[in-house]
Amino acid sequence: MYVLIAKQFIRSKVVQLSLLLLLALGIMSVLIGKQFLQKQERTLANVTQHQQAHIARNVELHREIGLLLYYLRFTLIDKPDRIAGLSIGQRDVNPSVQSVTIRTLEAQLHDTDLNNPSNLQSGNLDLGFVIIYLFPLVVIAFLFNLLSEEKEAGTWRLIAVQSNSTLRFLWMKLSVRILLTYCMLGGILLLAYLILSLPVNRQLIAFILVAILYTTFWFAFCFWVVSFQRNSSFNALTLLSAWLILAVLLPASVNNYVANLYPVPESLAAMVKQRERYHEKWDMDKKITMDKFYTHYPQFKKYGVPQETFNWTWYYAMQQMGDDESLKERMAMRAKIKQRENASRWLATVIPTMHTQLLFNDIARTSLSSHLQLLDQTIEFHERLRLYFYPKIFENAPVKSEDWKKFKPEYTRAENNINITFALLPLFLLTFGLASWGVFNFRKTNDA
């Protein structure tokens, strides 16, 4: 019986066509993921190599440690996991490598990687995209006429007479479709596992779980719509509209809504303000700057207020003040971005497409919050460098006294502490609710 249903299903041109298209795009997405990982690896290799050359060259060129540190860049890397190839998220906009000098940090935090913005605009065809956008379309194509095709072809009456339970018959049809879709998903994931050489860890398992549950949600949703027993075109239109709303319109609207709710004008304002404050210090009495600096770092008080026209202690104090004085704006902006993130997340819990996208990014550590964490770690890293170099600059230690070779790029890891069970709950509840409602609808008409 199952074999016959499967045969009848797979022989349909539409099914073959959609499976072929899905497979092609799935493979392509995995290859694109690989390309992304390769590019990232190239960047990291470059960074490591360049940092050494860069430090060596500058150490040769400059005799003053103050001037040398004006130029020296130190690198902090948050290496993307292999699984980032499955869900590239914001990693293409936000760099995984932060390269900073010990001067004012503010502007350095906003450096982006070089990119063709047209590429960013079209976005990435990663596996996450294929699962979130394309799988539902295939599920819709498989299910929209689950029952109506029988009614329209006139076979339904025959089935109703022949089989003991029409619900059982539908379940058989449904399970063939579900099985085939899972096989497809499993196949593509297996390919991804092989091509991207993904490590089997909690992240991968979480990713697979989310992918399966998300696909199941679409099955439940389609089943629910089908359970109202309307004709094929009605179902097709309804399901397609639902897809359009869930996958395209709602995310776009929520994004616009949230961006409007928490506008972030502070970036530009903070930058302009900081320039103003920094430059006015050049003409200010040095004592004012130094006093402020020593309030922040009392341990350096012993270096006093310099008298000469130019002095590195004073220069770095000015740089430090650039950060200290824009701290408020920076915090305000960070708070707004956090609010955006939280508002989006909260709204996303009831919108499966968005929820899944955010979950994928969280799992693959490619979300905005991962980037914000990296920024926080960069701030810490920068502070550590400052505290290490300040006394050396203030004492004008000879350049050669420092072992510059030890400054290799540092690695960090922005951890996402997601409770996967809790994160899956909304998806699970929706799926379960819709499926039960659908079964209820069928039972009702069956009895009548």
């Binding site: 041109k13 066509l17 959609s18 298209l21 290859l31 694109i32 390309q35 590019k39 960047t43 060259r57 914001q90 906009v93 936000n94 490598v97 390269s99 502007a107 906003h110 450096d111 990687d113 070089l114 990119n115 063709n116 913005p117 047209s118 960013l120 605009q121 079209s122 976005g123 990435n124 065809l125 956008y133 379309l137 929209f144 075109s233 097709a236 239109l237 397609l240 996958a247 395209v248 995310p251 776009a252 994004n255 616009n256 949230v258 961006a259 409007n260 970036s267 304002a269 930058m271 302009v272 320039r275 103003e276 430059h279 955006r340 996303a348 497409t353 968005m354 996208q357 979300s367 905005l368």
Partner: protein, 471 residues
């Protein structure tokens, strides 16, 4: 005859609930998009004009200062806002809209809005261009997928043919029957947009001609989708199959193809990484003249040559301030390096653009997307043009500062101060965008591709319907 068929198609479409629901949704979406654009306009404009005013007044009121310090202090160049950018915001979200101009350094535009947004922003923005080039094709498919299949399924096609109507006339009637509803949506949007854009203040010069051109491009694009829809509908027996096929075509051409072309472009012509790029510039800079370091080998060489040229023994005897002159020479050298490296970057970008242009043959979405951005002046080419103008302005500004220092102060006299007179002699940054003739010339290939899509899809439709079987 064709009009009669079109009228009947229209009556049918309007009487069916489908059209009413989709049309209302589409209007609601467009209104929402217009509203989003408007609030975006208000906030950006407020920020922009405030920052712009501040930046200029800060420059004018920076008080007495050494000219070179003023060059370090620098200023900002703001990308002008174009009214049409409210329809298609293009890549502005990813490029940023202001560039910091300072001595010795060419900066990239900063504060791309996309950086501060969650991954949701990648689902797209609810902007008019999103609705106009992404959703409207779906609308066309939705009302037209069963144009032929329905007649076939219900048997009216046989009756039609028995009445002796030529299939091509029938097809043209159906074509009009789809095109008119599209016009019914597009024309009010066009009129609304024209009224709205002509009446907003401080947002650049609005050109009705450009808006008309933009809508012309959109209409050609819609015509292509109508052709494809009718073509597919004439090919299949069942509406469901035609629908699923059309959906697949839409998905591939509007969703997948742009992403696939991006991957191909990135694969064939990868961008250098930021680190690589900066390192190469740093290496080149170090090789040459350093304006702030008189002991630098290149600087020494220049000093000898200059002394010889003026027939004096020391830099103090020169008729100008050697420091100012040296710094300007250094500046020129750096500017050349930046020019060289940015040229390389531009080559990569041009190559990538060419990849997009060739993949446009596979999706009508791509040429339309690029034409739309180009007409709205929010494509990457416009951004380059602006960045180049800003760089030229920077070179001019820094040159003026160094020149003033060289001409009006003595060597070693870092206490020389210039005032408002010098600041005001630097004109405000004015940027004249490329003319529309240039824009169209740059996009000839996109235009040709789109027209080729139109002609070929018409030809395919003609071929399909004339061979179409009645039973």
């Amino acid at each position: 005859m064709i009009f009669k068929i079109a009228r009947k198609e229209l009556t049918e479409i309007v009487r069916e609930g489908r059209f009413r629901i989709t049309a209302i949704t589409l209007f609601a979406l467009l209104l929402a998009a217009l509203f989003v654009s408007k609030s975006y306009y208000t906030s950006v404009n407020a920020q922009h004009s405030e920052a712009k005013k501040n930046v200029r007044s800060e420059w004018m009121e920076q008080g007495q200062k050494n000219p070179h310090s003023a060059a370090h202090y620098g200023t900002y160049a703001f990308k002008p806002k174009y009214p049409l950018s409210l329809i298609d915001n293009g890549v502005d979200k990813y490029t940023g809209v202001s560039i910091y101009l300072e001595a010795h350094k060419r900066n990239e535009a900063q504060y791309a809005a996309a950086q501060d947004q969650t991954a949701l922003s990648r689902f797209g923005d609810l902007t008019p261009d999103f609705v106009l080039i992404f959703i409207v094709p779906l609308f066309i498919i939705l009302i037209g997928f069963n144009a032929f299949t329905r007649e076939r399924e219900s048997g009216t096609l046989r009756l039609l043919k028995s009445q002796g109507v030529s299939t091509w006339k029938l097809t043209m009637g159906k074509w009009l029957g789809l095109f008119l509803p599209v016009l019914f949506i597009a024309i009010p949007v066009y009129v609304l947009a024209a009224l709205f854009l002509a009446n907003i203040k401080d947002y650049g010069q609005f050109s009705l001609w450009a808006l008309t051109l933009l809508f012309g491009v959109y209409l050609i694009y819609y015509a292509v989708f109508i052709n494809i829809t009718l073509f597919v509908s004439s090919l299949f027996k069942k509406s469901n199959v035609a629908f699923v096929t059309l959906l697949g075509i839409w998905m591939v051409s509007c969703l997948a193809m742009p992403k696939i072309s991006t991957a191909i472009a990135d694969k064939l012509y990868p961008y250098p990484t930021q680190v690589e790029f900066e390192e190469q510039i740093a290496v080149d800079k170090k090789k040459g003249l350093d304006g702030h370091n008189p002991w630098n080998t290149e600087a020494k060489k220049l000093e000898e040559e200059t002394l010889k040229k003026y027939g004096v023994d020391s830099v103090q005897q020169l008729p100008f301030n050697w420091d100012g002159f040296l710094m300007q020479e250094g500046e020129k050298h750096t500017a050349d390096i930046y020019f060289k490296h940015y040229q390389l970057l531009k080559d990569t970008y041009v190559n990538q653009t060419n990849v997009y242009r060739s993949t446009a043959a596979l999706s009508p979405f791509l040429p339309t997307r690029f034409l739309s951005m180009a007409i709205c002046r929010t494509d990457y080419t416009s951004h380059w043009d602006f960045a180049n103008a800003a760089e030229n302005y920077r070179i001019e500004l820094v040159g003026k500062m160094n020149g003033d220092m060289a001409a009006n102060s003595k060597y070693g006299d870092w206490d020389y101060l210039a005032d408002d007179k010098l600041w005001s002699s630097v004109p405000d940054f004015q940027y004249e965008p490329a003319s529309y003739t240039t824009v169209i010339r740059q996009n000839t290939s996109n235009l040709i591709t789109l027209l080729a899509w139109l002609l070929l899809s018409f030809a395919a439709l003609y071929g399909a319907v004339t061979k179409m079987k009645t039973i």
